[in-house]
């Protein structure tokens, strides 16, 4: 995957200005808009289109703290993959949460309460990611390992939130 920070030309940081990111995306999209390339040779037109697609993908990746953290870790060659195994403590917590959700499925109040609890956990992990990535201009090995652990927890909590949202929709 290409580095979304590079594609959008923004600083490689976890905490970023959401409004500035949106502005950057809008500016680039306008510059690359197909209408501007109507008179251009086909090769140039195609390249502009490919860049526009890349800019959209990069924007989507950076907009969400979870995929933003993934992109930062990938830039350090530390992407979380299929072979990674979470800690027993996390697995126990997640198993317990998922079983509680299964039991709570018929009670929207209980599901909402569980969801609120897990959203708070996600927010804490996002704060942990900000601390790990941005405390230093160049995060060291320990900070990156802490970020990776926080990302794995966040992935599990997000997955729970999706399941809980689905349960509330039915």
């Amino acid at each position: 995957m290409t580095d979304p920070f590079e594609v959008l030309g923004v600083a490689r940081r976890f905490s970023l200005d959401r409004a500035a990111l949106e502005q950057r995306h809008r500016d680039l999209s306008r510059t690359l808009h197909p209408d501007r390339y109507v008179q251009s040779p086909p090769g140039e037109r195609r390249m502009a289109l490919e860049r526009a697609v890349a800019v959209n993908e990069a924007f989507r990746a950076l907009r969400d703290p979870l995929t933003r953290a993934e992109a930062l870790l990938a830039a350090h060659g530390l992407a979380v993959g299929d072979a990674d195994r979470p800690s027993q403590a996390l697995l126990m917590e997640v198993m317990e949460l998922r079983e509680s959700l299964d039991e709570a499925r018929r009670s929207p109040e209980k599901v909402t309460a569980l969801l609120a609890q897990v959203r708070a956990r996600s927010a804490a992990e996002e704060a942990a990611l900000a601390a790990a990535f941005d405390a230093d201009a160049a995060p060291g090995t320990a900070a990156l390992a802490a970020a990776r652990d926080a990302l794995v927890r966040l992935k599990y909590f997000r997955r729970f939130e999706e399941e809980a949202d689905d349960a509330l929709d039915i």
Binding site: V80, G81, D82, A83, D84, R85, P86, Q88, L90, L91, M92, V94, M95, R98, E99, V152, K155, Y156, R158, R159, F160, E163
Partner: protein
């Protein structure tokens, strides 16, 4: 994602879903997960005194392939000795369920779960022997 018939069959009618008492010295529990997809899988075995797996249960929160892999694993585990159980490979699961390449990690997860359940059981047994002197 086109699932094979066997995956759908196991995912829709999972075998041996449930829980065994994890405090029971004859029960081994394996708890594993794949962070890339947010899956969590618990697999438990109950072993008789002569080392044969009498019962196996699982609980998996994950995709159809992860559920099918662990469901199939519990079916295969019953009646096997621990050594026979350790010999189960993820590739056996892939073959039986016709898992596509993107779902192979689900079978790896099931193999890991079997191994950790056996390891947990063996740990408990050696702790018991030590306690007995």
């Amino acid at each position: 994602m086109a699932y094979s018939e066997k995956v759908i069959e196991h995912a829709e009618n999972p075998r041996n879903v449930g829980t065994l008492d994890k405090e029971d010295p004859n029960v081994g529990t394996g708890l594993v997960g794949a962070p890339a997809c947010g899956d969590v899988m618990r697999l438990q075995i109950k072993v008789s005194d002569d080392g044969v797996i009498q019962d196996a249960k699982f609980k998996t929160f994950g995709c159809g392939s992860a559920i099918a892999s662990s469901s199939l694993a519990t079916e295969w585990l019953k009646g096997r000795t621990l050594d026979e159980a350790s010999a189960i490979r993820n590739t056996d699961i892939v073959k039986e369920l016709n898992l596509p390449p993107v779902k192979i990690h689900c079978s790896v997860l099931a193999e890991d779960a079997i191994k950790s359940a056996i390891e947990d059981f063996r740990k408990k047994q050696s702790a018991k022997r030590e306690a007995q002197g």
